[in-house]
């Protein structure tokens, strides 16, 4: 493991690839890796790309990466595709659209299966981002599972979130309903070569203007739902709606300009720190949740848990009573709450 960590810090592709596998397959490997790499992270600009299946996310990633390479930036790419809920297998096909990036040692592309995670990312994506960050990729592009729904997870994981729409992907109002506008920093209407794309651009613009912020959004209403804004003012970022034809590389120069401008905006407005804060809060809670459940599984046997489930299903006890019984088994629970009660 130490050798791999050193290799990652040197930016060696083989070490990065190996460590990503370990991090993906083992929670404890992820812990070791992140602990070692964390001081070397925090440099990368993380860019999320989400949108319905087939809207052209991978094709856009290919184009964005090419342009970032022209600017001399090293680019790491994580492309997530769904795992089959039935077999656990996955067909990871995003690389097909990224062939222009082959042969460039300044680009590293990794496909990831979602492995049962629902939010459009894999559970290991957060750790994988850190591996690429520590390996020195200035830009990390994260393509989510194609979904029509707002993928809040990506907005939490990324600094800049692109939501990709395309004409003919269902009615325009649906995007609004699904909360797409809540997570987008930049809206891309891809397949601008197709009929109806101007209408999609116009209706998205209209929705932005009708929205409560009138097109100016305080950073991520969803993201900050739990923390009050520092000063209550809006951050002043105008969400652009950009037409693009990714398959012909059209509109992508402007898109990359906007991505860079969003980064500049984050840095100048202080929103970068706010987002980092929010991101870390989310990550901590996720980890905590996972670890607490793991502790419960150590404290209470699967049989005991099953017996409780059966009792609830048979209406012998209610779910609240069952959970209380589980928590009683939880040795740390009393201790921790007891201690904190006595010290406060």
């Amino acid at each position: 493991m130490n050798e791999l960590i050193a290799g990652v810090l040197d930016g060696r592709a083989r070490a990065i690839a190996r460590l990503l596998t370990l991090v993906e397959n083992s929670e404890s490997a992820a812990e070791t890796a992140v602990t070692a790499l964390y001081p070397h992270t925090g440099q990368a600009h993380i860019i999320g790309i989400t949108g319905p299946p087939g809207s052209g996310k991978s094709t856009l990633v290919n184009e964005i990466a090419k342009r970032l390479r022209q600017q001399g930036q090293r680019v790491g790419i994580l492309a997530i595709d769904p795992s089959s809920p039935f077999t656990g297998g996955a067909l990871l096909g995003d690389r097909v659209r990224m062939r222009d990036l082959a042969g460039d040692s300044g680009v590293f592309i990794r496909s990831m299966a979602s492995r049962g995670s629902l939010g459009g990312l894999a559970q290991a994506t957060w750790a994988a981002i850190k591996v690429l960050d520590a390996a020195g990729f200035a830009k990390i592009l994260v393509e989510t599972v194609g979904a029509g729904q707002a993928e809040v997870d990506i907005a939490r994981a990324a600094h800049t979130t692109l939501v990709v729409e395309a004409p003919g992907m269902g009615d325009d109002v649906q995007a609004f309903k699904a909360g797409i506008l809540e997570i987008a920093d930049i809206l891309v209407v891809n397949k601008a070569d197709r009929p109806g794309s101007e209408r999609v651009v116009r209706s998205l613009e209209l929705m932005l203007h009708l929205g409560p912020m009138g097109g100016t959004r305080h950073h991520g209403r969803i993201l900050t739902a739990t923390i009050p804004a520092a000063n209550g003012t809006s951050s002043g970022w105008q969400i652009p709606v950009l037409p693009a034809t990714a398959s012909e590389g059209r509109g992508t120069a402007e898109l990359v300009t906007q991505i860079q401008q969003h980064l500049a905006h984050l840095q100048m407005s202080g929103e970068w720190q706010e987002r980092e804060q929010e991101r870390c809060r989310h990550e901590l809670r996720q980890l905590l949740q996972m670890r607490l459940l793991a502790r419960l599984d150590t404290a209470v046997s699967q049989n005991e848990q099953d017996a409780l489930v059966t009792a609830v299903a048979a209406r012998e006890i209610d779910p609240y009573t069952a959970v209380r019984q589980l928590l009683n088994h939880f040795p740390a629970n009393h201790e921790v709450s007891g201690k904190s009660a006595s010290t406060t």
Binding site: A13, R14, I16, A17, R18, L20, T21, N25, S26, S83, S84, T87, G88, G89, A90, L91, L92, G93, R95, V96, R99, A102, G103, F108, I109, R110, S111, A113, R115
Partner: protein, 138 residues
């Protein structure tokens, strides 16, 4: 946690259809594997680079162009250069029987003609990876 094999499926050479490769890719997915599908017209350099970045446990090649000998030779050479000799390579497509010993001599672990069932390929991969894991454990 059960660890999913990661299999890279690539279509080197210039012939333009990848139906066979896609059928195999889907069958492997349905067998619970994570399949990285890279698409048509891959050069040996692209294939080995993808396998490296994806940390593939095995590489499956579909070759119908008749250029299997030079393509496979180059891929095996690149794998060696990258210290990836331990990644098994299997081959599907139209391979004349006379070429099979040559390909095996280059280190190809499995060769499947047009008549091979996807089930055979799944078994082959599972067995090959299990054997490799056994070796590593020793």
């Amino acid at each position: 946690m059960e660890i999913k094999p990661r299999i890279l499926i690539a279509k080197p050479g210039l012939d333009g259809h990848d139906r066979g490769a896609k059928v195999v890719a889907r069958a492997l997915r349905d067998a619970g594997m994570e399949v990285i599908y890279t698409g048509l017209r891959q050069t040996p350099e692209m294939i080995v680079e993808s396998a490296l970045q994806e940390d593939a446990d095995a590489i499956g090649l579909s070759i119908l162009s008749g250029a299997h000998l030079p393509l496979v030779a180059r891929i095996m050479e690149l794998l060696t250069e990258n210290e990836m000799d331990d990644v098994p390579v299997f081959l599907g497509g139209i391979i004349p029987p006379d070429d099979i010993p040559t390909l095996q001599g280059m280190g190809v672990a499995g060769i499947f003609g047009p008549g091979a069932s996807t089930q055979e390929i799944v078994h082959f991969i599972n067995d090959t990876l299990a054997a490799a894991q056994g070796d590593r454990a020793v």
